[in-house]
Amino acid sequence: MNPANYLYLSALLFTIGAAGVLMRRNAIIVFMCVELMLNAANLTFVTFARQHGNLEGQIIALFVMVVAAAEVVVGLAIIVTMQRTRRSASVDDAHLLKY
């Protein structure tokens, strides 16, 4: 199969993720979109690893997964706390950290 197809898929996933992050207000959805972008990057890494015949890309993909897992832990905790204190999961309501 043509490796370029994987790259097209990855680009598509990334674009969906990015659009989601920019357009959705619900924190959980934004969060999921970030995950989508991370996985798009993972797919690219693996594709290139396969293409070049070495393992470096796959190793980095593993790292990204670890980071994503850690991010899920911290991020979900923040979202839950936010939900509890402000009764809302909208990212636009959390704009206190400004000038």
Partner: protein
């Protein structure tokens, strides 16, 4: 200067006499200075404990210095003429590169004259002050300052280098500052003190620059080394050094154009005026010029300027003296004028040095006597100094009257009193040198006779113009005793000239040269006496035979000018003080508004920019994300563009 036989440089160098190492009594030179200094320290730091005996200590220390000086003088008398100079090296002071200077004292024929004058007159004035200041709560401090002055003045005349002389020079300036402002709770007096110090500092700058010149040229500041090297320097440098030294002398001796402080300095207690502002400190400038004779001998220009400054001052001092109603200010103007005579004489070169010193010595006696007598008069008149409220005091205070009278006869130059001999010699020397200078000196003598007669008449003769409630009385014995001694000096001072005594005595230090006479001596003397008689007669006509107004009359333009010190203060104020104040104000403004605002403005600019930039931080996560994507996209685009 105009003397045809101005020596070749080599000849001048040979004139320097040998200076021996100090032995015997000359090893005590330092003690002369240390004694009054010790007295000053004890009196100023001792506090109230010393109140009861402070004045006695003050007198004793000066007496001690006088005794040492007298013994040294007698020892010198017993030696050969070329063995009368001794140098005592105390310790090394400065050592840096080729600047090497020790603290050392030099006793020779010139300095010993001053030592005797300072300590003897100083002692008498200390005695006088015991009574004069008896009712002042701070008498102890007064004696402390006086002792400090004696010490600094001795340092000035005994120093063996210009730098050490400068220490004494500023030391007497400090003592003068403290004493003029002794009654400093009166704002005017404090201002007068400051004015004296600052104007002196202007002169001091001249002395400093002269020292820089010397160091630059000769690499030394010690008298003997400088004098030895000076013939090697070019004419321009010698003249420059001479002029700068003159600037120093002009400041200290209240000569034109730095004379304005002396009249204000009369704010100090009268003994101070007698000691510092008549007999000793103000003559330091003359000492400086005479001491620097080897430098001036090599520069006709510098000498001419010295003589001209002296001539100008002696005339304007005399003119100012004619219009003053304050007895102390009239005497101060007279001091200015008499020092003008000395400076004029010093400017005549070897023909005049000895006479400058001679007049300085006699003047020291009779002027101190005059001032102390004036103090005695004030003492009897409730500290009133306005002569328009005096009159006919000769009966009320006979001793004061007699002493003042003798001093008066001396200063106007009536033979055989001291002033006649010394002043006549100066007029003679001036005439021999240059007709114009001689005429100035002659006219000055006439005006002197006029204004001194005016003072004499308004105070002791004419009719009573006392304020009601004033009961003039003679002063106590402790005050009249110094008066009598000083009057004795005014009578006998001329004796120094017997057999050309003082001229021969000073010759090894300053040289001497008989001038060729332009006109017969007797004729000149007669002319001088005639001028003096005219002056006295004019004063008699105006003040004895016509009534003196109790309030100051309007007076003409000239009188008005003289009353205002020939507008010297106005000129100083307009030319120096006001622009100075404006400059200061402008700089303060510049510093605060300009430089500081520049810096603060820069800070404000940064702060403002930052304030606007921070608006970008809206707090909306999605807008941050958009920025981030935009940035990433731009980066990618940039990479692509570069690739292509």
């Amino acid at each position: 200067m105009m003397i045809p036989t101005s020596e070749a440089p080599a000849g001048a160098a040979e004139q320097l006499q040998n200076i021996g190492e100090a032995t015997g009594v000359f090893n005590l030179t330092w003690l002369m200075i240390a004694l009054p200094l010790f007295g000053a320290l004890v009196l100023l730091c001792g506090g109230k404990r010393t109140d009861s005996w402070g004045h006695i200590l003050g007198c004793l220390t000066v007496l001690g210095s006088f005794l040492i000086g007298a013994i040294q003088f007698l020892t010198l008398l017993g030696k050969d003429a070329d063995e009368r100079a001794y140098n005592q090296h105390l310790y090394d002071w400065l050592d840096s590169g080729n600047l090497q200077l020790g603290v050392g004292f030099q006793v020779d024929q010139l300095s010993i004259c001053f030592v005797l004058l300072i300590t003897f007159v100083g002692f008498l004035i200390h005695l006088y002050s015991v009574e004069y200041m008896a009712h002042d709560l701070r008498r102890r401090r007064f004696f402390g300052y006086l002792n400090l002055f004696i010490s600094a003045m001795l340092l000035l005349v005994l120093a063996d280098s210009y730098l050490l002389l400068f220490v004494g020079w500023e030391g007497v300036g400090l003592a003068s500052y403290l004493l003029i402002g002794f009654w400093q709770h009166v704002p005017d007096y404090a201002t007068a003190a400051k004015k004296a110090f600052v104007m002196n500092r202007v002169g001091d700058i001249g002395l400093l620059v002269a020292m820089f010149f010397m160091f630059d040229q000769f690499g030394s500041l010690a008298f003997d080394e400088v004098f030895e090297a000076v013939p090697g320097a070019s004419d321009g440098w010698v003249t420059a050094i001479g002029l700068m030294l003159l600037l120093g002398a002009v400041g200290k001796s209240a000569q034109f154009p730095l004379q304005a402080w002396l009249l204000d300095a009369m704010a100090g207690p009268t003994p101070v005026s007698a000691l510092i502002h008549a007999a000793t400190m103000v003559t330091a400038g003359v000492y400086l010029i005479v001491r620097s004779a080897p430098i001036y001998n090599l520069s006709d220009t510098a000498q001419l300027v010295v003589a001209i400054v002296g001539a100008i001052t002696l005339v304007i001092g005399a003119l100012i003296g004619t219009a003053k109603d304050d007895i102390k200010k009239a005497l101060a103007a007279s001091t200015m004028s008499q020092i003008g005579y000395m400076v004029l004489a010093a400017g005549l070169g070897p023909a005049g040095y000895a006479f400058a010193i001679f007049h300085l010595l006699t003047h020291g006696f009779f002027k101190a006597g005059l001032f102390l007598s004036a103090g005695s008069v004030m003492h009897g008149m409730h500290d009133d100094t306005d002569m328009r409220r005096y009159g006919a005091l000769r009966a009320a205070m006979p001793i004061t009257y007699a002493c003042f009278g003798l001093g008066f006869l001396a200063i106007i130059g009536i033979p055989p009193f001291a002033g006649f001999w010394s002043k006549d010699k100066i007029i003679e020397a001036a005439f021999n040198d240059n007709i114009a200078l001689g005429l100035c000196a002659l006219i000055g003598a006439g005006i002197t006779a006029f204004y001194m007669s005016r003072v004499m008449i308004m105070t002791f003769f004419s009719d009573k113009r006392w304020d009601s409630g004033v009961h003039p009385h003679e002063s106590p014995k402790l005050m009249t005793l110094p008066l009598i001694v000083l009057a004795g000096g005014a009578v006998l001072g001329g004796g120094l000239l017997i057999n050309d005594g003082i001229v021969t005595w000073l010759e090894p230090v300053v040289g001497h040269e008989e001038a060729h006479h332009r006109m017969p001596v007797w004729a000149l003397t007669a002319l001088t006496l005639f001028v003096i008689v005219v002056g006295v007669a004019a004063a008699l006509k105006m003040y004895q035979f016509s009534p003196v107004a109790r309030t100051q009359p309007q007076g003409g333009v000239l009188v008005h000018a003289a009353r205002h010190d020939l507008y010297q203060d106005t000129v100083n104020e307009a030319v120096l003080m006001r622009p100075g104040q404006w400059a200061t104000r402008f700089l303060v403004w510049l510093d605060h508004r300009g430089l500081d605002n520049l810096v603060n403005g820069l800070a404000a600019l940064l702060g403002g920019t930052a304030g606007r930039l921070r608006r970008v931080q809206a707090g909306f996560v999605r807008s941050y994300a958009l920025t981030m994507f935009g940035g990433a996209a731009l980066t990618v685009l940039a990479v692509l563009v570069v690739r292509l």
